[in-house]
């Protein structure tokens, strides 16, 4: 099968800092990719390049066979993006914000109204459609962001820490949603720090550290390879430069 996302020799510099070093990944349609790594590993940079926020990179990216450089618009139309704790124009209401997003993706007002109404209803936010978002809690804003990312029914969904701020029930909804979307053939690129969630939702886990891929495979494969029980332990084994116990000891010793 032709990969839906093909990243080849991706390099990215911030000034003289080399943040992505020769990353090459092929992603099959319908896969749920758990993209993990420590702070500053290059996760967000990869995501920003994929969604078109950053364009000054070297290497090639093809989405459904389309070169992201040649035809960024076609690629953007295929992708739905749920940013991490994104800023919102919170003087707008969810209705107005989603209409804006819909217009930018070329949806008609009727379609936006219909879909947004149903999705927010599912999140239990139908009553908040016409309230300004400046009074919303973090979780409410996150629900709006998830809705806005899915509104145009994209084939690829890129989620950057989508569960932050959500209450337990909404977490269940989103996790099941990811599962159902993958089953319906959508490709999910899931960026997160929450190892237990990544472990459960992903078909394939890609771990990056200091700009390079250090592990790639299903949870089972990684577990056998690393001989560890949990993703947390695998993660620590591959990325920690010093023992965690040392670090926590040092923290405790700071009081002496």
């Amino acid at each position: 099968m032709e990969p839906i996302i093909r990243i080849q020799n991706l390099n990215k510099y911030y000034g003289s800092k080399h943040v992505l070093k020769n990353i090459s990944i092929d992603i099959e349609p319908g896969q749920v990719i758990g993209y993990i790594g420590p702070n500053g590993a290059g996760k967000s940079t990869t995501v920003k390049i994929l969604v078109g926020l950053l364009s000054d990179f070297t290497g090639d990216i093809f989405v459904k066979g389309i070169d992201i450089r040649q035809n960024p618009l076609a690629v953007k139309s295929l992708i739905g993006f749920v940013p991490e704790m994104a800023e919102l124009y919170d003087v707008l209401t969810p209705n107005e914000f989603l209409s804006l997003m819909g217009s930018l993706y070329g949806l008609t007002q009727e379609v936006v109204d219909e879909r947004a109404g149903r999705m927010l209803d599912a999140f239990g936010m139908a009553g908040n459609m016409d309230q300004r978002m400046d009074t919303f809690s973090k979780g409410m804003k996150q629900k709006i962001l998830i809705t806005s990312g899915l509104l145009h029914n994209p084939e690829i969904i890129i989620l950057d820490e989508p569960l932050s701020g959500l209450d337990a029930n909404s977490v269940i909804i989103v996790k099941e949603l990811i599962d159902k979307m993958a089953k319906s053939g959508k490709t999910i690129f899931y960026c997160s720090h929450m190892m237990d969630v990544v472990e459960k939702v992903s078909d394939r886990i890609i771990l990056i550290n200091e700009g390079t891929v250090v592990a790639d495979g299903s949870f089972e494969e990684l577990r056998q390879r690393q001989d560890k029980d949990s993703l947390e332990a695998i993660f620590a084994g591959l990325t920690a430069t010093q023992s965690m116990h040392d670090a926590s000891d040092k923290l405790m010793n700071a009081f002496d």
Partner: protein, 565 residues
């Protein structure tokens, strides 16, 4: 912190014995004040310190620029000393200006100080006693006020001393002090009133509207007052001739000031002296005794009050009502990106506090200017071959292009610039489409209504003969607006941080903003007599904006000034 803050901090911490007696924790007091003053110094200054472009680096001298701004204001206020025949009149006017200024400063600048909701999360959970916290807050407000009041009143004090002799200096300072107290009371009363009327959740937005109202008023006052005072009747007037002056507080203070400096003693002046001392002291007692406690209690509710507590508005399902904005967008823009830009700009301009603070004062200016033009139109030289009314109406039209360009220049800026990620993620072929939609919206909201009013006014008062000239004027403003948009608006609407805004060519920009309307207006003025030329120009100018808009729409991602985030 700079030396001024350090000095004030040192000064307010001097009476350690007093604080100990009050059970104030000195270390905590110092820590809180240091943090607050450091933050103040990094906040944009209250008086015009937000010059775009120049300050690319982070703000670090806000205190100094606030003081410089206050000094400028103080110098401007000196013109009150040129009005009226006697010193009481001059002082009354000066003090009126002063209390007005101090109230505006308090409401625009101090709201963030008084209502720093972060205090509730950061300071209050720490083991800090109420008395320490309240003392810190009071001292902070005192320092902030002093930083503004001192430079603002310095020129006035010197001028008064030159006119009246050094005996007036001490009474002057005393009266300024008392008036400041009165100002604080006044603002507190307003806050309490708002909190009584609305919910704490809405408090900040109401304060925001009041601030904008005040700024518009200030703008109007600054345009109107000097002109009123220049007229000969005012120059020779004395405030004592006006009936019911007894009820005007600045008059008490002025009269009391004169009395204390040894100029004229009367029972009436004695009365004014008593009033000017008793009223502020009593009102501050009111604030401390009654207002502050309930105020703080209500303030605590501001952070607590999120949407979960407010009752959800039920979404009306079924057929949606199409708003005026959407209708306008439908008429004026092409679907998708341009339409979205129009609607987005329309909604944001009406709600973004930052935008309103920057742009709405110009509306006050246009209104004041409009009234002045209208009521002084007899003094204008009559246009060749045209009516008396045409010149003032045309002048209002051309002046209103200032409002248009102010709104246009402010269009890309917002505190929430990071929220603009959505434009970069969405499949927009050319960002010029969004920009063009937003610029059209600015024109539709900030010029077209005024143009309609003026055209109708001209028609009613003068008849159809005035029409070609008025319409040409309006079209010219649209041409000016679209040219300014083409040259200046190079970012997506509401996508750029105000401080980091790289204005660059401030000089060229301001020249352009002045010269364009001036040039168009002048040429129009000289040609206005030739009816056929006007008609021909009408045809040409009707096309130009559309051509310019086509160019704006072609702007692609590479031509944007800010590249994502």
């Amino acid at each position: 912190m700079n030396f001024i803050d350090k000095f004030f901090l040192w000064l307010v911490l001097l009476p350690t014995a007093v604080y100990r007696k009050l059970n104030v924790d000195l270390n905590q007091l110092k820590a809180v004040l240091t943090a607050k003053l450091t933050m103040d110094n990094r906040r944009p200054a209250s008086f015009g310190g937000r010059s775009r472009g120049k300050e690319k680096k982070e703000i670090s001298k806000a205190t100094l620029s606030t003081m410089a701004g206050a000094l400028m204001m103080g110098l401007i206020m000196l013109y009150t000393f040129g009005v009226g025949v006697d010193m009481v009149t001059k002082l009354s006017l000066y003090l009126s200006m002063f209390i007005f200024m101090i109230c505006i400063t308090l409401i625009t600048d101090f709201t963030s100080v008084l209502i720093d909701v972060r205090d509730n999360l950061i300071i209050l959970p720490k083991p800090i006693s109420d008395v320490t916290f309240v003392t810190a807050r009071l001292l902070h407000i005192t320092i902030r006020t002093t930083i503004v009041v001192l430079p603002m009143t310095l020129p006035g004090c010197i001028t008064a001393a030159i006119i009246q002799g050094p005996a007036i200096i001490l009474p002057f300072i005393l009266m300024i002090l008392l008036m400041t107290l009165l100002g604080i009371f006044f603002i507190n009363a307003i806050y309490i009133l708002i909190l009584k009327i609305t919910t704490p959740v809405k408090f900040q937005s109401v304060i925001g509207s009041i601030q904008i109202g005040f700024v518009i008023l200030m703008m109007a006052a600054y345009q109107l007052l000097p002109r009123m005072m220049q007229s000969s009747t005012f120059a020779k007037a004395s405030i004592t001739d006006i009936p019911f002056m007894q009820f005007y507080p600045p008059f008490w203070f002025a009269d009391a000031c004169m009395l204390l400096s040894g100029n004229g003693f009367s029972a009436e002046s004695m009365m004014n002296l008593v009033l000017s001392i008793v009223v502020p002291v009593f009102s501050i007692w009111l604030v401390v005794r009654f207002f502050a406690p309930s105020f703080n209690r209500k303030l605590g509710m501001i952070t607590g009050g999120t949407a979960e507590q407010s009752t959800p508005v039920k979404h009306i399902s079924g057929s949606r009502k199409i708003s005026l904005l959407e209708r306008l967008a439908g008429w004026l823009t092409k679907p998708c990106a341009e339409y979205a830009g129009f609607i987005f700009a329309g909604r944001m301009m009406g709600r973004s506090r930052d935008f309103k603070m920057k742009v709405f004062p110009s509306i006050g200016y246009i209104i004041v200017f409009g009234f002045m033009m209208f009521f002084q139109h007899n003094s204008f030289s009559v246009l060749p071959g045209s009516s008396k009314l045409a010149t003032p109406l045309l002048m209002i039209i051309y002046i209103s292009s200032m409002l248009l360009s102010t709104a246009m220049l402010q269009l890309p800026y917002t505190d929430k610039f990071k929220a603009s990620w959505l434009f970069f993620v969405a499949p927009i072929e050319k960002p010029g489409l969004v920009i063009s939609g937003a610029v059209k919206c600015v024109m539709a909201l900030f010029f077209v209504p005024l143009a309609l009013v003026l055209v109708v006014l001209g028609l009613v008062l003068q008849g159809p003969s005035i029409l070609p000239n008025l319409v040409l004027g309006c079209l010219n403003v649209l041409v000016i607006g679209s040219i300014i948009a083409y040259i200046m608006v190079k970012q997506l609407p509401f996508s750029t941080a105000q401080e980091g805004a790289a204005g660059g060519s401030t000089f060229i920009r301001s020249m352009l903003l002045l010269i364009l309307p001036g040039a168009f207006g002048l040429v129009h003025f000289f040609l206005s007599g030739f009816q056929w030329v006007i008609l021909l120009l009408l045809l040409i100018t009707a096309v130009i904006p559309w051509l310019v808009f086509d160019e704006i729409k072609k702007r692609d991602w590479g031509q944007l000034k800010n590249q994502g985030n």
